[in-house]
Amino acid sequence: MKARDDTLFPAVLEDVGFAAGGHQLLTGITASLGRVPVTVLLGPNGAGKTLLLRICRGLLTPTRGTVRWGNAGTGQLGVRVGYVPQHPVMLRRSVEANVNWALALAGVPRRRRGEAARNALAAVRLEGFARAGARRLSGGERQRLAIARAWSQRPAALLLDEPAAHQDPAATTSIEEAIETVRDAGTRIILCTHDLNQARRLADEVMFMHNGRMLEKTSGSVFFERPQSEEAARFVAGELLV
């Protein structure tokens, strides 16, 4: 078990913008992320949350501005920053083999993979599914396996894209418990969601986004009590932002 790599924090975004096909999808985002255990990127669909998350992980290059994790560029993150997309791809093999594959990439020697995989699966309560085919899992179970797979690499930060979208309350609870386990083990969580209640339950800090811009970034308690921007106030009040 590696100690957490604190040199990556905070992740600093400077004037990040992204344009594609003549549309400005992200504009002027300047922020530092990952100072607290759980940062939530909150906003309605189409706010640019997923885009920003992928840029932070280095899967997309911003058309403006820069992202740096401490001294590291997004191309140098290796397995230190994990990313779980909204629809994670399961490898066509067993649940356990999915985690083993990630462990191999993280350079964990073969003889230690068995135990590491069991620990990761236990953390997300999937220990009973080790031998099952990963593609046979339900949506919520896949999400937890994806979290276990990414977390088995012991990343300093884990980026989660809508980890419980379209899940029923039971599945959502299991997923959020998995996230809390990962958080308590010291991995910083940055997750994006459009679910106000999920944000309320998990966020230490909220970064509110709308139409590709960051409208505010405050601690969770402040955000939900006294939102600064008009849009955030309307969103917290349950209005539909379009």
Partner: protein, 235 residues
């Protein structure tokens, strides 16, 4: 019609008797084509996957060539291999012409583009689905290659089977480089050609039935294994 019926009866008798001459021919056919497909596959899988994942200018050219070569005419491949292996050719000193080895080479060349082109398409489709996830787990393009080949194993089986079908069924290449020498390089397709020209339609038809039966059998086994895998690990 009488001719046709008589040929069928004769074919049936041959199959029941399982003539050792026929068994030798069937055995050589399988040995040559399976070896060719194994060699072709070992080259075609990494080649196809590399073309699927690599990004370089002019990438469309090798892909187009590969796709076009799926339909490479066996006689032309046979002729080219013949020229290389003939005594005066660049590889003439190895004395491979008119041996099973020459037939393996010709068939391997024949199936390689077919398997490689199907692999390229399969892996490219898979990569579209997997690329970000694998990259986020720290995989380089090179590291994705074996993973995607394994992920595509069920689809790739079909490509390899198509290659085997092409190899075992072709006559143009093996007859040129093998020479259809009795007991040495005679395989099912060349034997069928010969027996038909001699008027031994029963013998020819019997071999034809065995050829089709074997192809169906091998495909059935491979598909059963694939189906088992798909059910176990999901589509």
């Amino acid at each position: 019609m009488g001719e046709f019926t008589r040929a069928f009866v004769e074919a049936g008798n041959l199959l029941i008797a399982l003539d050792p001459g026929i068994l030798g021919i069937v055995g050589l056919s399988l040995r040559v084509s399976l070896t060719a497909v194994i060699i072709g596959t070992l080259i075609a899988l990494p080649l196809g996957a590399t073309l699927a994942l690599a990004r370089f200018p002019g990438r469309g050219i090798p892909i187009t060539i590969l796709n076009a070569f799926m339909g490479l005419p066996p006689v032309v491949v046979g002729l080219a291999v013949y020229l290389f292996l003939s005594r005066a050719g660049p590889l003439g000193e190895f004395g491979l012409l008119f041996t099973p080895g020459a037939m393996v080479i010709a068939q391997a060349i024949l199936v390689l583009p077919l398997i490689a082109a199907l692999t390229r398409q399969t892996i490219e489709d898979l990569a579209a689905e997997y690329r970000e996830d694998l990259a986020a787990l720290g995989a380089s393009r090179l590291r994705m290659l074996p993973t995607l080949l394994w992920e595509g194993r069920f689809s790739l089986t079909t490509g390899v089977l198509a290659g085997f079908g092409r190899a075992i069924a072709e006559v143009g290449a093996v007859i040129i480089v093998g020479g259809n020498i009795d007991g040495v390089t005679r395989v099912m397709t060349t034997a069928i050609t010969l027996e038909t020209s001699k008027g031994n339609l029963g013998m020819a038809l019997g071999l034809g039935i065995i050829l089709i039966g074997l192809t169906v059998g091998i495909n059935a086994v491979a598909m059963a294994v694939t189906r088992f895998g798909r059910t176990r690990y999901g589509v």
